[in-house]
Subunit: 455 residues, 2 copies
């Protein structure tokens, strides 16, 4: 059976899951496993070039929990798979998420093994959600974390997301604009994101516009007539000749010339920026800024600025948009408690911290100086990062956040990390995160209990 | 203005575009640029570890061209951006794609600079589409190309897509199942893909199911009662102890034991596979297969098989799902003709082949031995790869393809590449692709014309 709507949306997102979530759900239902389970979402290990991650994606997770339903078409499809009995399929008709969620605020810097969120719900409900919850937090955390590096590298200059064309699919490009806004980027070229999230949209012209005209100068003139304070792309044929045509246009238009910037998109960007700046300044156009784009990442930006390149803003596309140097995180959503008991698995190299957890972040002189991951009920100094955001399937006040508040909070929180952790280079030593004695003791207890069960 | 529907779908996909496409469109409209433009979609350079790419994504492109519309909400949103005049916004109400598309068939192996598709349409229509067309062909080509490497590495064994949780967003995970099906994977864990594309869905149990029980053996017994011919995950606590519990269960159940396989998901997979195989065989369970998963990619699969690891199937997740070693392609959608004239840009390092093009693939003894990229109207030997798939905004018969036909075609086409090109290691020399003399001559002519235009 095929459908012609190749989109994931509110109507079918319940099926956006790995088949094993559903086979396990049916087994839980058949065997009367309906006690509360807690699943912890965390990243096992940071990529080599990430001193911290920016947690993002919670809003989509909560929205999913609020709205996920199996409609008739979904249930009919599951029936065709030959694995599900009528009793289970009928139960899916009434499926609702009724659980609780505790989470760190979106925009919070997080580190390895720190829970980003913990879901506590009847085990079947929490199990179904695994695929979507991981997918969204993974994507948005990958991108917010990468975006924060661009912002760092640009040292206060504008950084614009040009990535939608080579990000992985439409959902990634949409959520990217959101994640990059959290991370502090200036704007995105993504028009749909501006509608859905209210993120600033930006963009002026591509090479094709220039090429459609016989003469580059005519293309500039026509575009400026329509968009006086635009950014003109000058590298279609010869970058410096393009800049000279902009200067000619300024002379022609006099006071009506309001062009905001030229954009360089190929060649030796730093060198061309120096030469373009000199040409513009000689012509008295020191208010015309220089914008650079083309295969940029944080390293290229940092290198150009270290070189003194007179660049006022950056358009960053693919390398940020797919997080080229670290496109995935070792993120996990693991059962850590069931029926009131801590749970863990012993699989080689994949340790789990059992039970309900909390992260306390301490500070000194306004800067964070270390985290402790402990049992939720411990009484510890420091700021607890996980807070209740959903109870009984309903969002709590802490689960509602305005995107601009998340952005401001993120900036402020990153600014409170130690300098070496904020930097692009690997922090040595890394930000200190330890597991509390109480949690270590509990982990040993649970481990002993699991190991002591006779085969 | 924000909306609460964080999805891209038929209703809003017209806004899934970079803002500059719309500012250029308005400029084209204002300035009466309504002649036919041709845009070529191609990859400039293959990633280091790709001897060929598998073209994919055309069906979504054609569906977009058939359905893209600006609804009232979209137009109202654009009005808020302050850049669009009423005349243009009114024209968007009637926007339809009326152009032609020529494309290589999905599943075709393609190489650097070969057009994957060419769109010929009034320039504003072809311009708007850039972002979506690139996004979908890029994603699906990245993933089909990566997936084909897994199929190669597995040498006929099953390879299953376990990636949805860490792919970049929901659209990527959905389209991935499609792309991997084209590339020859056995199945996907993605349930929604099975509904939308009819791809085989697979999956049985995760660690959480085992952990929810006090005893692993009880978890196995309960699961098998519900799903007799399932795959049991044996590494939650101790892999070989897990295998022994499966053997105990086989003794207990006798003829009712129908378990298809055990799955190893951590540790030294090759070593554990050897030991597990030995245990199973000693117990007379030689029909129980061994399935391996956990951070696999084509190199890990090839290394294990080269080592003689007795593994019958592989679950591959993140590294395939994000194409970890090459998450992006240098793909471009470039104006190559306007108003009947070839166009190109001269930007450093980014050459464009002007005009309407064709690719001819020649063969010898049933194997492909080289491609020529030429002008569409040339009369050349070899099989032309681009064929008309849409005319006047309507799909032609060649634009309708059944996914299973694409899969079969892809397998057959890959099998006709030279052995070294099919291999995982870089082909040296690479597959030969040359530009025809006629196209080189035309490129020089266009270049001379562009350069001769007085400033």
């Amino acid at each position: 059976m095929t459908s012609s709507r190749p989109w994931v949306d509110d109507g079918n997102v319940a099926l956006f899951t790995d088949l094993y979530e559903l086979t396990m759900m049916q087994a839980y239902v058949e065997q009367g496993f309906d006690e509360a389970a807690t699943f912890s979402l965390f990243v096992r290990k940071l990529p080599a070039r990430r001193n911290y991650l920016v947690a993002a994606g919670l809003d989509d997770v909560l929205r999913y929990f609020e709205t996920v339903r199996f409609d008739r078409a979904a249930i009919d499809h599951l029936a065709t798979l030959g694995q599900f009995n009528d009793r289970f399929l009928r139960r899916l008709e009434d499926f609702r998420f009724t659980g609780d969620v505790r989470a760190v605020r979106e925009g919070t810097p997080v580190f390895a093994n720190e829970p980003i969120l913990e879901v506590t719900a009847p085990i079947a409900e929490a199990q179904l959600a695994e695929t979507f919850v991981m997918n969204q937090v993974h994507l948005q955390t990958v991108l917010a974390s990468k975006g924060a590096r661009m912002v760092r590298a640009a040292e206060g200059r504008a950084v614009v997301d040009f990535g939608p064309r080579r990000m992985h699919g439409t959902d990634a490009a949409l959520k990217a604009a959101r994640a990059f806004h959290i991370a502090g980027l200036t704007a995105s070229s993504n028009v749909l994101a501006s509608r859905i999230y209210g993120t600033p949209a930006t963009g002026t012209m591509a090479h094709s516009f220039i090429q459609a005209w016989e003469r580059e100068a005519d293309a500039f003139r026509a575009f400026v007539a329509l968009y006086p304070n635009t950014v003109l792309l000058v590298d279609t044929y010869d970058t410096l000749a393009g800049v000279r045509k902009v200067i000619d246009l300024a002379r022609e238009l006099g006071d009506d010339f309001k062009v905001r910037a030229v954009r360089l998109d190929s060649g030796d960007l730093a060198g061309l920026a120096h030469e373009s700046r000199a040409l513009l300044d000689q012509a008295g156009l020191d208010s015309v800024q220089i914008f650079a784009s083309g295969s940029l990442d944080e390293d290229a930006i940092a290198a150009m600025l270290a070189d003194g390149a007179p660049i006022d803003g950056f358009g960053v596309g693919t390398k940020m948009g797919v997080s080229e140097d670290a496109p995935s995180l070792d993120i996990a959503y693991k059962l850590s408690a069931y029926g009131g008991q801590g749970r863990l698995k012993l699989s080689t190299g994949k340790p789990v911290l059992p039970g309900h957890k909390q992260v306390w972040r301490s500070e000194q002189g306004g800067r964070f100086d270390g985290d402790v991951i402990g049992r939720a009920e411990e009484d510890r100094p420091g700021m607890p990062l996980l807070e209740p955001v959903m109870r009984g399937g309903e969002r709590l006040p802490g689960g509602h956040v305005a995107l601009d508040d998340v952005r401001a909070y993120c900036r402020e929180q990153i600014g409170r990390l130690p300098d070496a952790v904020q930097a692009l280079a690997p922090a040595d030593p890394p930000y200190p995160v330890r597991v509390s004695d109480a949690l270590r003791t509990y982990q040993s207890e649970v481990r002993r209990r699991v190991e002591s069960v006779p085969a």
